[in-house]
Each structure stands twice: as structure tokens, then as C-alpha cells.
Symmetry: C2
Subunit: 239 residues, 2 copies
């Protein structure tokens, strides 16, 4: 049996009780080192914890499958929700029905960041990753263009990294074709973790903010406003 | 002080510890009757619980503000994540900075439903509500059209109700202009609650499934497949 467990933003109090209970009953917990570090204070002496390096996604899943087929109850952990750009899919692909796989969802970065920024996601929205490691950049540009035309609120995952410092600036240029430069835009770095920072600005200035790979960016729709320093997309109620 | 607290799908074990701890420290918990019912077993004797009728969103927030200005620590609860089509926005609008408002996010239906259906949300996706109570239907149609053209995975909230039994069928017709009829499509009713049901089918057949207002629908992108009865959108890893 394999559980793919979402840790949420990282601190134990932002995990669900279901996720905590699931980890409790597993024989071994496997994850990228940074994620194992997030939970090791809870389990270090009692549990077998297996850290694996970044980009070791497939080997982690093969290891989990092997352990499960040997009779262990196994958890694969990742931050946020494993069902959103996470480990859920690759684990199901590798397991191929040879063992049961249960996905235990966690708080995804869009929701964690939105709560910090105010209430930007009160209406239809799109989540787009700016990482072109596994996706052609042309497809990312097309999705940005159409999301802008649809007046979606847009939440950007992986807005920047050392390998692609200009992706956010390019994304902003595309969104400016359909969204006003004054559209409220916010960012949250290390959401829900130590070192949390955030800022609220406008679309034309968001690319100048201190945004890195641990940041989530949310850009409003045509009705989003800034009120008391928070982003707020009205749902449409008469108040 | 007002906390807007997400209950997630409804059962206590799918709330975060942060949400549970927040409710514990509040003097009064205000919510739509069905949501208060979900938590009343945890608190009935110890807490003041205030149920309010459906569509009473604004009066609930005015009541919360009044209580907070009188010195109480107040929680407004809603299912899922109050930051996604939820109470976070209207509470901030009504509070207007007169008291501190903190949003405590919960698991939103997209993530809860995705985990039950497999791993459909492994790539860029759009969340669209089919409710036209507060949104012109023409705008919903435009967003569906562009989301289809962008090859987003599409997650539909409020896919049906008594007042709008044909909305899902119309949405499917629009998505079929850009998505294959064979595109995997799944639905989850009462996700994470008593009476949970789900099904996996294809886009051309999804409108024939037993879908009501307590259902979330997820329609894949051009790479989504069905494997061992689960929806799976590959992220692009070589396995």
C-alpha cells in the first residue's frame, strides 16, 4: 500500500489530521530531502525516513513501489498538494495497479498564498506553471494569452528560477496584452513557512518584486481591487 | 478579530490543525446551517454556534463584524476553502479594515475531488463555476471556450442545480469544440463526506452522469488518460 501525502505549505499545523494519521501508520516515509526535513522533528526516532535528492522523482516512486510490494506500508510525501503538479501522477504511472495507491491531498500553494494576500480567488481562475522543464514554452505562452483573454485570475507556480530568470517578465508582457497594467498582483514567498514574505502591487510592477522559485504569484481579473493592502476580487454580492 | 475558516470537505480529519485550533479559540462560530451541522458534534456544548440560512452570506458577515467590534473572537466557517468562491472576499469587503480579518484556508473541492479521481491536475488547469447567479452566462461561456482552446484541464464547480439543469450540457458542448469527445472526465459527489460517490467517463458522456450541486467535475487535457479506472494527466517525466 502506498499513500501519496501532501504536507501543505510545510508546518505541521497546516497539514490535515488525515495526512498526519496516514504518516503515523506508515512503515517508511520517502521524500525529497527538503520535505523530509520539514517533518523529521515529528518522526525522527520512530520512523524510517528516506531522503532523496531533487529531480529524483521517478527513483523515489520506484523505491516506494518496491517497498510496497515487499509488504511495507509506504508514504511518499511532497509539499503542497501532491495532486497539483506533484507526485500523485508519477506514482500512479509507475505503480500501474500493482499495488493500491491512495492520494491524501494537502493545501496547494494557490490557496495558501491567496489567504495571505486577501481574497483574490473569489472568481474563476487558472493555475499555470512557468517551468518549461517538462512543458514547451510556446504552450505556456499560449495558455497565458488565452487565460488573459478569458479574464481569469491567474496564479503562477514556479515563476522564476536560476535557469529562467526572464520567464515572469515574459509572462507579464503577455498578460498585459489583455489585462490593465493597474491590475492588482501579489506574491508570496515561503508561504506558510519560516521566512514568509509577501507583497501586493500591480501587474506592470510585479516582475520587479523579489520573486524566486519559492514564490507564488497571483494576478487579479478586471474586477480585482486593493483594499486595506489586501487583494480582493468581489464575488458579486450586494453588501 | 474575525477568522474566516475553511472546513475542507466536511469531516474533521480533513481540516488542518490550524483550522481546528482557530475554532477552539473563538467565542462564537457563525455559518450556513449545513456547515455548522458538520462541526457541531465537536463543539456543541462548549461553544456558541450560530446557524444562518442559505444565501444569508452578507448578513452572516455583518453579524460577525458586529460581534468582533463588541470584543468577541469570531469565526465564520464555510466548506472547502473560503478563499475559493467562498466567504473570504465578502467578509473583507464588509469589514473594510474596521477589525482584523484572517483567512484560514481549507481543502478546496478541486483538490479533494482530484485525489479521489486519480491525478488529473498534474498540469495547468482552470477552475470555472457554472453558477450564473452572480456571473453573466455569456462570460462563463467565453471562459469555457478559451479554457478549452488553451488545453487546460477544466474543473467545474456548481455544475448543476434545480434552477439550471442544462448548464453542464451546454458547457460540454462548448468544450467539445476544442477537446476530443474521448477526453477523460470524472465527477465526485459529496467528496470527502458521507455519501461520497464518483465516476470516470469521457467528455461526450459526462453530462449523462448523476451530477448535482454537490458534485465537482474534472475534464482532462489532451494528454489525460484513464489507467486502472483512474484519471491520470502525465506531468511529462520519463518513467
Amino acid at each position: 500500500m502506498i499513500y501519496v501525502v501532501g504536507l501543505g505549505p510545510g508546518k505541521k499545523d497546516q497539514m490535515t489530521k488525515r495526512a498526519l494519521d496516514t504518516l503515523d501508520k506508515c512503515d517508511v516515509i520517502i521524500g525529497y530531502k527538503a520535505y523530509i526535513d520539514l517533518i523529521k522533528d515529528c518522526y525522527d526516532d520512530k520512523k524510517e525516513l528516506v531522503s532523496s535528492p531533487m529531480k529524483g522523482e521517478t527513483s523515489r516512486c520506484h523505491m516506494a513501489l518496491e517497498r510496497a510490494l515487499n509488504g511495507d506500508t509506504v508514504a511518499i510525501v511532497s509539499s503542497g498538494d501532491p495532486g497539483v503538479y506533484g507526485m500523485a501522477g508519477i506514482m500512479l504511472e509507475i505503480a500501474q495497479g500493482k499495488t493500491e495507491v491512495e492520494i491524501v491531498p494537502g493545501m496547494t500553494a494557490a490557496c495558501t498564498a491567496a489567504a495571505i494576500l486577501g481574497a483574490p480567488l473569489m472568481h474563476d481562475f487558472a493555475i499555470i506553471s512557468l517551468s518549461d522543464l517538462l512543458t514547451p514554452w510556446e504552450l505556456i505562452e499560449k495558455r497565458l494569452t488565452l487565460a488573459g483573454e478569458a479574464d481569469f485570475i491567474v496564479c503562477l507556480y514556479n515563476p522564476a528560477s536560476h535557469g529562467r530568470p526572464d520567464h515572469l517578465r515574459k509572462a507579464v508582457e503577455i498578460l498585459l496584452q489583455s489585462k490593465s497594467p493597474e491590475t492588482p498582483a501579489g506574491w508570496v514567498k515561503n508561504a506558510g513557512r519560516d521566512g514568509e514574505e509577501y507583497g501586493v502591487t500591480t501587474l506592470d510592477k510585479i516582475a520587479d518584486e523579489p520573486i524566486n522559485m519559492f514564490t507564488t504569484v497571483i494576478i487579479g481579473n478586471s474586477t480585482t481591487k486593493i483594499q486595506n493592502g489586501k487583494m480582493l476580487t468581489p464575488r458579486g454580492y450586494k453588501i
